[in-house]
């Protein structure tokens, strides 16, 4: 009797929640995973920032801003986004040129645009605008794309990526390029072209070496052998590996990571926060973190496949895969698998406009999913 009542009440609550989520065009599992990830992020950020409440408050404010953007974008219908794509892209390109022209100097690189109220990285727009325009381009065309299409796509992708790389912000440039290239790959690019491109890329990399800035070359060299310069360029990666390795299976405990708390680990609340997780929560903490990320990526891929038009699918797949690229580059970097490029750990690293961009991306993705039937027929 009592059980039945309780069961009924639970069912009612669940169905009410489902209705609410549906009305808001949100996906429950994804939302829960994102919430857990943000919470995990806040917990580790509190420790990594040296128990700085200000950092937490600012991060929460950014999360709120991101959630607002997400809630707004879930209502955007696919055809609206498609129409928006060229305009957003053009605005982004103009802003990138503006940054190049009169950007505010930040950390020796010109990345920020001061909009009076807040500073803004135009490259963040391109993380969404590039896959949107690429998806827009392919929407009316049959897949896989033909050669003409691919030339157009290459221009769409590499113009902003090149501008961002010149800022110079290699990490973001790589992410922008990745978001576009992944989309093209998903669109059925033939294997032959992929192989040829890879060979070309290697050639380009060798050529690009000559045009690299000193510190960029250093990063590559340090990646290849961090021990050569333990106090200079190799310092970051060595200290990061010490942090992760000394954490062991169970970690040293929250706020007890000596590498992080005693300032040995550089950039510990931003690019190297993954190492703090590894040091304080150990392998278990890292696996839990990776599990959350994998769940989010899988859910996004699943949602993407459910959408009904080419634009939606390509854009959603690109957003989902770029998210994984984010995670892998950051984790690979701090654990010594990849060179040190300035890519933050999504939704966990402190700072930047990336939290807002990411949540906006998830908003777009959920909107594309929930509006699928309207475009379906």
């Amino acid at each position: 009797m009592i059980e039945t009542t309780g069961y009924a009440r639970t069912r009612r609550t669940l169905s009410a929640t489902a209705q609410l989520l549906s009305a808001l065009n949100l996906d429950g599992p994804l939302l829960v995973a994102l919430g857990l990830l943000s919470l995990y992020g806040l917990i580790i950020l509190y420790s990594a920032s040296g128990q700085d409440v200000n950092t937490i408050v600012r991060t929460v404010m950014r999360l709120v801003l991101g959630v607002a953007a997400m809630l707004a974008l879930t209502h955007a219908k696919p055809h609206f986004l498609r129409r928006l794509a060229p305009w957003l892209y053009v605005v982004g390109i103009v802003l990138l040129f503006a940054v190049a022209a009169r950007g505010v100097i930040g950390k020796g690189a010109q990345r920020w645009l001061n909009l009076g109220l807040f500073r803004f990285q135009p490259s963040e727009i391109m993380k969404v605008a590039v896959p949107m325009l690429a998806a827009w381009h392919l929407h009316e065309r049959p897949l896989p794309p033909d050669w003409k299409s691919m030339v157009a796509l290459a221009m769409i992708i590499f113009l902003p990526a090149g501008l961002v790389a010149m800022e110079p912000d290699l990490g973001t440039a790589a992410l922008i390029a990745a978001s576009g290239l992944l989309l093209v790959l998903m669109a059925g690019l033939s294997m032959r072209v992929i192989l040829i491109s890879l060979l070309l890329a290697v050639g380009a990399a060798m050529l690009g070496w000559n045009f690299m800035h000193g510190y960029q070359r250093e990063r590559v060299l340090t990646f290849l052998n961090p021990q050569t310069d333990p106090l200079g360029a190799g310092y970051h990666i060595i200290q990061s590996q010490i942090a992760i390795g000394s954490g062991g299976v169970f970690g040293k405990g929250w706020m007890n990571g000596s590498q992080a708390q005693l300032d040995f680990l550089p950039e510990r609340s931003t690019d190297f926060i993954f190492s703090v997780v590894g040091e304080e929560f150990g392998l278990i903490g890292l696996l839990a973190l990776l599990a959350l990320y994998l769940f989010i990526v899988s859910r996004c891929l699943w949602l993407a496949l459910q959408t009904s038009d080419t634009f939606s699918r390509l854009l959603a797949l690109s957003l989902a895969l770029t998210f994984f690229v984010y995670v892998f580059i950051n984790a690979g970097m701090v654990s010594g698998l990849l060179p040190v490029v300035g890519v933050p750990l999504p939704l966990v690293s402190y700072g930047g406009s990336s939290v807002v961009t990411l949540l906006a991306g998830f908003g777009i993705l959920m909107g594309l999913y929930s509006h699928r039937k309207l475009v379906g027929s």
């Binding site: 009316e140 065309r141 049959p142 897949l143 896989p144 033909d146 992944l182 790959l185 998903m186 669109a187 059925g188 200290q239 590996q241 010490i242 942090a243 992760i244 390795g245 000394s246 954490g247 062991g248 299976v249 040293k252 405990g253 706020m255 007890n256 990571g257 000596s258 590498q259 708390q261 005693l262 300032d263 040995f264 590894g278 150990g282 392998l283 890292l286 696996l287 990776l290 994998l294 990526v297 899988s298 891929l301 993407a304 496949l305 080419t310 699918r313 390509l314 797949l317 895969l321 994984f324 892998f328 984790a331 690979g332 654990s335 010594g336 698998l337």
Partner: protein, 672 residues
């Protein structure tokens, strides 16, 4: 060629996207597995290695300075110990504006304005996160003054540290030495590793000579540091075991000084310039060692400002000069007992033969007349009388009879012109002149000749002969012990924590041999007569030159007065009042007591005091009284320092010392 119209094939599209998504998922899985593999490698396989690295990262070894050993006098009075004191410390990287901060500290009178440059240089020479002491030993008032303004000085703070403390102030400072901040020169000869963490190092005296023993062994402590090398407190549960290697405190040294005797000597000298050295003739123990003026050792431990140091170094009275060890003066008449022994031993003279003195002497074949002061004894004198009443004429003659070579070979074993070998540094050897010395010491050939008149001067301890107060005390001790010689020493043992003393054996030097007992008897009797009056049928009632000072003494003493003529002032100097004082002779007195079983030997020198009997002998009396009778009444501050003998030696000096009034300065123009 018309391109075929490509129709969007939704089914095909769906297939492509699904396939590719599947492919992407596989790649994602593979990449994730690679990542996990890497993490497992780092966190499981290499865990121990990285734990070691992370610990090495944050543990730094910091020195713990050892507590410096105490210095105790022979009865256990503490002469030097350690006490906590406030010091002002600065960490450069926490100071917003170093220049401004130092100037404001100076405005608060916490740093001497003259030291600003030096302090700033010192701070800038250290690492930015090093704690640099900018002022040592703040007074309570200064601590309070800083405390009020503390909030205005980020990066500057008060800290307590052990500093050296001398409970008796400047007493015996020339024997004990002092400690001060380790200088750049010190760094060159010390083991820097062993001194890491030590701020003060011994300078001069016992503090310097026994630095090794006093310093002890610094310990180490592992401390947690952050990446900038700064000590941090906050680290939670995952704290490694921090090891501590405790420091070993320095040895507590027992020195031979007797505080009562030392106080009596310092009080006796008062404000006058001079030196007193008292030795135990049976083992060489330095019972008292005074050089005046002196200085406050605490000022050095506190850290002297540039101006304070300049004031000390440029003081015309030279308070930093240790006159007891480094002041070289003509010996004056104190040489006479030794010369008498030489005459007896070499049979150059019959001690009973009467020599008639009319206060003049001239060398055969030389027109120059040596005049003795009118206070000198006239009439017939035997050797005893000549010593007791200090006849110059008698010893001019004896020196002439002996000749310079025999004098030199007899004086040398007593230690004239040679270091006594005392266990603290800085001693000067004085000078025992000889024809051989003269040939090498002078450049001009006409100066390299030894003139017979110089031998005559040597007879009363004038001329080139130079001795230090320590040497004369040592010689007095040798006379007291009839030739037995012990090396003067300050360190007589170490004391452990339980108060148990480990003594150090005295060092006996080869005794002075070849002197007949009868010779000793005669000379020592004569020295006894210096301090007494006697009646004899031949000479009537006569008093020794030191009899006044030793009137009523409760023991039998032996002594000898001396007056050292001041040669050093150039004749061209105008005879202003000041110069006149500078030209006045130095007063000497050597003594030992009791005569039959000597326990103390003393040498007193008072600069520019004139007659030895008047100025120096009463001080010797005071010192001996203090040591033998344990009696010492400090001169009341109101009492004139010029009359220090009012309590200890009642009665005015009976016989005034008579200096060789016109002992000629040997010059080429005036060959003696």
């Amino acid at each position: 060629m018309p391109s075929p119209v490509r129709i969007k094939d939704r089914w095909n599209e769906q297939r492509i996207l699904t396939q590719r998504t599947l492919g992407a998922s596989i790649i994602i899985a593979l990449l994730t597995l690679t990542l996990i593999g890497r993490l497992v490698y780092l966190q499981i396989d290499r865990h121990d290695y990285y734990v070691e690295l992370s610990q090495g990262n944050r543990v730094r070894v910091d020195p713990i300075p050892a507590s410096r050993g105490l210095i105790l006098d022979r009865s256990g009075h503490v002469l030097a110990d350690n006490e906590p004191a406030y010091q002002l410390e600065l960490i450069r990287e926490q100071v917003p504006n170093l220049y401004d901060t130092l100037h404001r500290l100076s405005a608060l009178r916490l740093i001497d304005p003259d030291d600003l440059q030096e302090t700033r240089r010192t701070i800038l020479a250290r690492r930015s996160f090093d704690v640099v002491p900018v002022r040592l030993r703040l007074t309570d008032e200064e601590v309070a003054r800083f405390a009020v303004h503390r909030y205005e000085f980020p990066g500057v703070d008060l800290a307590t540290r052990q500093t050296r403390h001398y409970p008796y102030g400047d007493l015996a400072v020339h024997a004990l030495g002092y400690v001060s901040a380790i200088s750049e020169q010190d760094l060159e000869h010390i083991d820097r590793a062993a001194y890491a963490g030590t701020t003060l190092i011994g300078k001069l005296g016992v503090e310097s000579a026994y630095e090794k023993l006093l310093h002890g062994k610094n310990g180490t402590r592992q401390i947690l540091v952050n990446a900038e090398g700064r000590s941090v407190q906050r680290v939670g549960a995952y704290t490694p075991d921090l090891s501590i290697d405790p420091p070993v405190a320095g040895e507590d040294l027992v020195v031979s000084l007797d505080m009562l005797t030392e106080q009596a000597a310092e009080d006796g000298l008062g404000d006058r310039t001079g030196a007193v050295v008292a030795l135990d003739p049976t083992n060489g123990d330095v019972l008292a060692l005074v050089s005046k003026p002196n200085f406050d050792p605490a000022a050095f431990a506190r850290g002297l400002s540039v101006r304070e140091y300049a004031a000390l170094a440029n003081n015309p009275d030279k308070p930093l000069l240790n006159r007891a060890l480094r002041g070289a003066y003509p010996s004056g008449s104190t040489i006479k007992p030794v010369l008498a022994l030489a005459g007896l031993t070499d049979h150059a003279i019959d001690p009973n033969k009467l020599i008639y003195s009319n206060l003049t002497f001239h060398l055969p074949g030389n027109s120059f007349l040596w005049r003795e002061d009118h206070t000198g004894p006239r009439g017939p004198l035997n050797m005893e009388q000549a010593i007791a009443r200090s006849s110059d004429v008698y010893f001019y003659n004896l020196a002439y009879l002996l000749g310079v070579d025999r004098i030199d070979s007899f004086l040398a074993p007593f230690g004239y012109g040679r270091l006594t070998g005392i266990d603290i540094a800085g001693e000067k050897p004085g000078l025992l002149p000889s024809p051989a010395w003269k040939r090498t010491a002078f450049k001009r050939p006409q100066d390299q000749v030894w003139f017979p008149g110089e031998t005559v001067n040597l007879g009363i301890g004038q001329g080139y002969l130079l001795v230090t107060p320590l040497q004369l005390a040592h010689i007095a001790a040798e006379l007291a012990e009839r030739g037995k010689s012990f090396r003067p020493r300050l360190m007589i043992g170490t004391r452990d924590a339980n108060g148990h003393m480990t003594p150090v054996a005295p060092i006996a030097d080869p005794p002075i041999a070849g002197i007949a007992d009868s010779s000793w008897d005669l000379v020592l009797q004569a020295m006894h007569e210096v301090t007494t009056c006697q009646d004899s049928p031949l000479f009537g009632h006569t008093c020794g030159t030191g009899a006044g000072a030793f009137k009523g003494a409760a023991y039998q003493a032996a002594g000898k007065t001396g007056t050292a003529q001041v040669y050093t002032v150039a004749r061209s100097q105008r005879l202003t009042e000041h110069v006149a004082e500078q030209l006045r002779d130095h007063a000497w007195f050597i003594a030992f007591a009791p005569v039959d079983k000597p326990r103390i030997a003393v040498a007193v020198l008072v600069e520019h005091a004139g007659f030895g009997a008047q100025a120096a002998a009463p001080i010797a009396r005071k010192v001996i009284d203090a040591y033998l009778l344990r009696q010492f009444t400090p001169t009341p501050p109101a009492g004139s320092a010029a009359q220090p003998n009012s309590t200890a030696t009642p009665g005015a000096p009976h016989a005034a010392e008579h200096p060789p009034a016109h002992a000629p300065h040997p010059t080429p123009d005036n060959p003696l």
